[in-house]
């Protein structure tokens, strides 16, 4: 006996993928922003990464943000701050 059954997935859920940021032409003397995801040592990893950039290419850290809770979605106001930030690039990372 032929059985007709539904699939358990929803076929037409299209998940929007954010587009990539424009590529930088140079890393020289950049204004760098840091965004910690809030996990232990994330800020340490990010700072060390920024230090390496500065050592190799110059520049400075002009903005430091912390998402506060690694498990939760980034708050809208923080996303807004990142979008409007006057930086050449942001560094973010997971720690632990």
């Amino acid at each position: 006996m032929v059985i007709e059954m539904y699939t358990p997935v929803i076929d037409d859920q299209r998940v929007e993928i954010a587009s990539m940021a424009p590529r930088l032409s140079t890393l020289k003397n950049s204004r760098i922003g840091l965004l910690s995801n809030g996990k232990h040592n994330a800020n340490v990893l990010i700072q060390m990464t920024a230090d390496l950039f500065i050592e190799d290419h110059g520049g400075e850290v002009v903005l430091e943000l912390n998402k506060g809770n690694a498990s939760r979605p980034c708050p809208d106001d923080l996303v807004d701050t990142v979008v409007k930030a006057d930086v050449d690039f942001m560094i973010t990372a997971v720690g632990d």
Partner: protein
């Protein structure tokens, strides 16, 4: 294959039941166990139980931007083994888990590996023959098993939280198969959860992203204090000591010992547990743990010998007695209670509740 416009889900034709079961395995739609083929007839019957348009969104998984419709939930409920009478609990649980404080994505993706506990309280537990007694946490009862399993199948199939792909749990959790219990209404000396929440004539569901199950056993406890200190000791275990919330399920035998003295109201029990579920800071320091917060380690000051400064002396489980969900469950015999800590390292998920809309009559 055809796609039903009404449901947004594809209908597949297969030769027989065993082919349907194998098809579901091949497609990656199971939790490792066989599923009931979600035939059009069974799914329609499931949807008949609730007064919802099939395309009504009943659950949102924010970070993946995926949503669950009543129809998709019904398909997965059939697969899990639910009867239509069970479906209103699935709907209520999905709505509760989709509330912001629950942090749905984090609790389904984390290395911490939570089991999504569903606690059902009120008249529906008897109406659909849920188990609130022996073998409370499994196995053997269809409603408990199938309702909990439905939630898991929705995570897998609708939200695409696949093990080792998007669900990155380090060791998983037995509760990821199913974790649904009913509150015991007899041999329970205290108001039920639905009554405490202001719905004495209705049923409610409470959802909680739970860590590992702790069995709390002390058959020598003869006084309320002895019984409750045993629970508090389990709650202060260093492996799960955070400021997160707690679920405590007292066995009828233990509840009877505690409530033998009318002084021990539910509120006083919770206060006692909170006050006694703590560890001295030096115990945390011995294992390298930060003490007064789960947040950024960099805020701690260290003296020259590595001891952290400026901290309070004790680290309590939770922030107050209100962080403890307390109810009675389990078989008549045995001083076996349980404690389930919150998933992960703190207050990443806050338990949520929802009133259950009863099954549509007629």
């Amino acid at each position: 294959m055809v796609t039903s416009k009404e449901s947004r889900q594809t209908i597949i034709r297969v030769d027989d039941v065993s082919s349907a079961i194998e098809y579901c395995y091949e497609a990656g739609w199971t939790d490792g166990l066989p599923v009931v083929p979600p035939t059009v007839e069974l799914v329609d019957a499931m949807l008949e139980a609730v007064e919802l348009d099939p395309l009504t969104v009943i659950g949102e998984h924010v970070t993946t931007r995926r949503s669950c419709t009543a129809h998709a939930a019904a398909v997965n409920a059939v697969m899990a083994g639910c009867l239509p009478a069970h479906f209103p609990i699935v709907i209520a649980a999905m709505k509760a888990m989709s509330k912001t404080g629950f942090n749905y994505h984090g609790s389904t993706a984390s290395t911490g590996g939570s089991g999504h506990l569903i606690v059902v309280s009120g008249p529906i537990t008897d109406e659909i023959d849920m188990n609130a007694t022996g073998n409370l946490f499994g196995s053997g009862n269809r409603a408990n098993a199938a309702i909990g399993r439905t939630i898991r199948l929705i995570h897998l199939n609708v939200f695409h939280m696949q093990p080792n792909v998007t669900d990155k749990s380090t060791q998983g959790n037995p509760g990821k198969y199913s974790l649904c219990v009913a509150e015991r209404s007899d041999r329970n000396p205290w108001p039920l959860l639905n009554e405490e929440m202001g719905h004495p004539d209705e049923s409610v569901v409470v959802v909680f992203a739970a860590g590992g199950f702790h069995n709390v056993e002390n058959h020598f406890a003869a006084t309320p204090e002895q019984a409750l200190l045993t629970v508090a000791d389990s709650m202060s275990c260093l492996d799960s000591l955070t400021h997160g919330q707690s679920v405590v399920v007292l066995s009828p035998e233990t509840a009877e010992i505690v409530a033998a003295d009318a002084f021990w109201t539910k509120s006083r029990v919770r206060n006692f547990l909170f006050e006694n579920a703590y560890r001295e800071n030096d115990a945390l320091q011995r294992i390298g743990r930060p003490t007064d917060t789960d947040a950024d380690r960099s805020k701690y000051k260290f003296s020259n010998d590595g001891v952290k400064e400026g901290l309070t002396e004790r680290y309590h489980r939770g922030l107050s007695a209100d962080d403890i969900l307390l109810f009675v469950g389990g078989g008549d015999a045995g001083a076996h209670s349980s404690f389930l800590p919150s998933w992960s390292r703190g207050r990443n998920s806050i338990m949520q509740s929802e009133v259950i809309v009863p099954i549509k009559k007629g």
